[in-house]
């Protein structure tokens, strides 16, 4: 009798297992993704940005070059921009793109960092991040600004931040105005060496 009970329980369990809901093993495919490297080549198409290279050194701002490139301006947005400037973490530059008649055909803002932010892993606590800031006294940084075929000059001004007014109203001091290459003077695609380097420090 006990043996029959055990056997019945076993068979019932097997039956129950057989009737158990699908565990879904056939619902998924296991996948891994690999990347296939290839030589870097410029994207086809005309330039879309000016790659602006700026030197900051001991309070001076120098525009080293502004070269056409096929890229995009991916920036922090005006809110972050203004906040960083007001926190004195960055200097505010305004650029204006001028056409042949000296009309402004585009403008925007570039934040040039005033601090270097160190972040690194704590030596004692794994995964804990440690942070420190220090003034950035010397650096060369880049920014991408929109490129227009009609652009002939680039004017750079530094803004004096004012917490009580929007960025658009901040007083501006022109630092430099530089000539830009005519569209036909620059290669039509991506990697373009700097072609226009203005004079040295501007203040």
């Amino acid at each position: 009798m006990p043996n029959r009970t055990i056997l019945a329980s076993f068979l019932l369990s097997v039956l129950l297992a057989g009737c158990a809901p699908d565990s879904g093993k056939e619902r998924s495919a296991a996948t891994t993704t690999q990347l296939v490297p290839k030589p870097a080549t410029p994207s086809p198409g005309p330039p879309t940005t000016l790659r602006v290279v700026i030197r900051v050194e001991n309070g001076n701002v120098t525009l080293l070059s502004a070269s056409p490139k096929r890229g995009n301006e991916f920036d922090a947005g005006s809110e972050v921009f203004a906040h960083r400037v007001l926190e004195e973490k960055a200097r505010a530059l305004r650029y204006e793109i001028l056409d042949a008649s000296a009309a402004v055909i585009g403008s925007g803002y570039v934040a040039v960092p005033k601090v270097a932010v160190a972040e690194f892993l704590d030596k004692d606590v794994r995964h804990k991040i440690v942070r420190a800031e220090q003034p950035l006294t010397s650096a060369v940084v880049t920014a991408a600004i929109p490129y227009s075929p009609g652009a002939r000059k680039l004017r750079i001004a530094e803004l004096t931040p004012d917490a009580k007014s929007p960025v658009e109203s901040w007083p501006a001091t022109v630092l430099t105005t530089v000539d830009l290459p005519a569209p036909n003077d620059s290669p039509p695609t991506g990697v373009v060496p700097p072609v226009d380097a203005p004079a040295g420090d501007v203040r």
Binding site: G24, N72, F120, L136, V191, P193
Partner: protein, 575 residues
């Protein structure tokens, strides 16, 4: 080069570089560095529409370029696997610029201004990008791994098609990293790839740190307007910027310090990991400012992005992501199961490779084990085989398929011959061979459904009590499109009562539902049980419905679904 004694040489080199810049000559040998080549690791499309990241190496000699390449791969793998970046990786192009340094390593110093805790002795190395500790100009933070001549990195990075963000990996295993603007330097210490992904949180996604310093007077007194999307000083639930993710039952503030900020110890977590609220201590302040969840990658480098950060990541990347293509296997018919003596059901599995635009997705269905098929049997599969970037017009994506029958002891059998087909940009495909027929389709991945975090309220674990063996079955419908899936792909996940676990999967990529129709998700959470204890237990089941108003698209992305038995945080996104 020693930053303190190399001023004259650097001035000369800088002058040469300026002349190079003036006359359009890319620097091939700057500060002794030798340009070896530029490689695109991830090509998602036109640089005019993508976020381009460039990796450079410093202190890697010509013979150490393989080491550098592996370090870059480590970061790229970590970043592209990060949730939810993996689902929107087509927002990025990633490039590697190989530069050989004359010497290996980096500059080190015994002291750094007032920061004397360096642990190093003086060491000078001539390297391509002139990186070193105690750099950045201030000379006050030893762990600021930077360069006194960032123009070197700027110029070498210009060899990549575009360079929205530049990361310099420095060949040293010490703790160090520093960033300014779109340029960052970091050592290749243990777990450095985690730090890199945290840094991308700042540079690309504009997120604030969610950790704090523990000094008693460290109270935030600034304005809410200046805070990034993932931190707040707001204590009012009604106006909280992530209030849509807060459950009715969650108090605000959720986990505060004492009113006088006197409790120097961090409060222990007393809410489930998946709960969104306001947890005091963020953006380097211990009091007066709050983060949305207890854990986040912006707080500890090995965690996932929290719900709010994830939403910001998605918002950022949606602008640049491609209309990817999702390849789905819908139906498999086995004409001859190749099952040998003794005759029975064949134990069938597929291996496949999806190839397109620099990606190879290697897959297996079922994820483990096999599927039993008899001769002539057809099964509806409805599994996502993979998501590929949209192929270039002249180079179609391909599917290589290998169908097998698991056999022992003489080895697995092939069903018909292995085959490779070109996939359509969109539309159905069929592979009809002597032994099998596979039908599938390629659709534009208009909507992507990500399962972010699962919370199990009662794990249903019976005899013997312990962690439940949890798995999730789901079916997602959008118009005619039906995707079924399982998490995890195989096996189960140990979860106890009120336990949360990252799911971090793209459950489906489907077309938008027809106008007036909804996207539905049928979710079943189960606890796996052995036959001995009566089979698997239901933890809970629910159907969630989304339409244009309740949330998908570029704005209302992350959703906390509080069901009976479980809670699921998910994201529905689409341009």
């Amino acid at each position: 080069m020693n930053r303190r004694h190399g001023g004259l040489i650097r001035a000369v080199v800088s002058g040469v570089l300026l002349v190079c810049a003036l006359f359009g000559v890319a620097p091939a040998h700057a500060d002794g560095g030798e340009f070896l080549g530029a490689t695109t690791l991830l090509d998602s499309g036109d640089t005019a529409a993508k976020i381009d990241i460039v990796f450079l190496g410093d202190g890697f000699t010509r013979d150490q370029q393989d080491d550098f390449n592996k370090k870059v791969d480590q970061v790229v793998e970590e970043f592209l696997a990060a949730h939810p970046v993996f689902a929107l990786r087509s927002a990025f192009n990633i490039h590697r610029v190989n530069v050989a340094s004359p010497e290996s390593g980096t500059d080190k110093f015994a002291t750094c201004g007032t920061d004397t805790d360096t642990g190093d002795s003086n060491q000078q190395r001539q390297t391509a990008l002139d990186a070193g500790y105690c750099s950045g100009g201030g000379g006050t933070v030893y762990r600021c791994m930077f360069s006194g001549n960032t123009q070197l990195a700027v110029d070498f990075a210009n060899n990549a098609p575009d360079d929205n963000f530049v990361v310099v990996l420095v060949n040293d295993s010490g703790h160090g990293g520093c960033a300014a603007g779109n340029l960052s330097y970091m050592t290749v210490e243990d777990d450095f790839e985690e730090v890199a992904v945290h840094e991308f949180g700042h540079s690309i996604f504009k997120l604030a740190d969610e950790y704090q310093y523990d000094s008693p007077d460290d109270t935030f007194t600034g304005n809410e307007a200046g805070l990034r999307p993932n931190v707040t000083a707001n204590r009012e639930k009604a106006s909280l910027k992530w209030g849509d993710l807060v459950l009715e039952s969650t108090p605000i503030p959720t986990q505060p310090h004492g009113d006088d900020c006197s409790d120097q110890d961090l409060p222990d977590r007393d809410f489930s990991e998946d709960i969104v609220g306001t947890f005091e201590g963020a953006t380097h302040f211990r009091c007066g400012v709050y983060r949305p969840q207890y854990f986040c990658r912006m707080r500890e480098s090995h965690r996932s992005y929290c719900d709010v950060c994830r939403r910001e990541v998605i918002r950022t990347l949606l602008q640049a992501a491609n209309p990817d293509r999702v390849v789905t296997f819908h139906e498999l018919k086995i004409k001859d199961d190749s099952d040998p003596w003794p005759r029975g059901d064949g134990e069938i599995y597929l291996n496949f490779d999806l190839t397109g635009r620099g990606h190879v997705i290697k897959g297996r269905w079922p994820a483990d084990d096999e599927s039993d098929f008899d001769d002539g049997q057809t099964k509806t599969i409805d599994v996502v085989a993979g998501v590929l970037p949209q192929a270039a017009a002249d180079v179609p994506a391909t599917l290589a398929l290998r169908v097998r029958e698991s056999d022992w002891p003489d080895g697995d059998d092939d069903l018909s011959s292995d085959t490779t087909i070109d996939l359509p940009d969109t539309g159905s495909f069929s592979i009809d061979k002597g032994d099998y027929l596979l039908n599938g389709d390629v659709v534009a991945a208009d909507l992507r459904v990500l399962f972010d975090v699962l919370n199990v309220k009662d794990d249903q674990d019976g005899f013997l009590a312990g962690d439940g063996d949890i798995y999730v079955l789901y079916t997602i419908r959008s118009g005619d499109a039906v995707i079924s899936g399982r998490w995890p792909q195989a096996g189960d996940v140990g979860m106890s009562d009120d336990d949360s676990h990252d799911m971090s999967i793209m459950a489906a990529a489907v077309p938008r539902p027809p106008k007036g129709e909804a996207l539905t998700m049928e979710i079943t959470v189960r606890d796996a049980d052995s036959w001995f204890t009566g089979g698997d237990d239901d933890v809970g089941s629910a159907t969630f419905t989304f339409d244009e108003t309740s949330g998908f698209g570029a704005s209302n992305i992350v959703h906390v679904q509080d069901a009976s038995g479980f809670r699921l945080t998910l994201s529905v996104l689409g341009r």
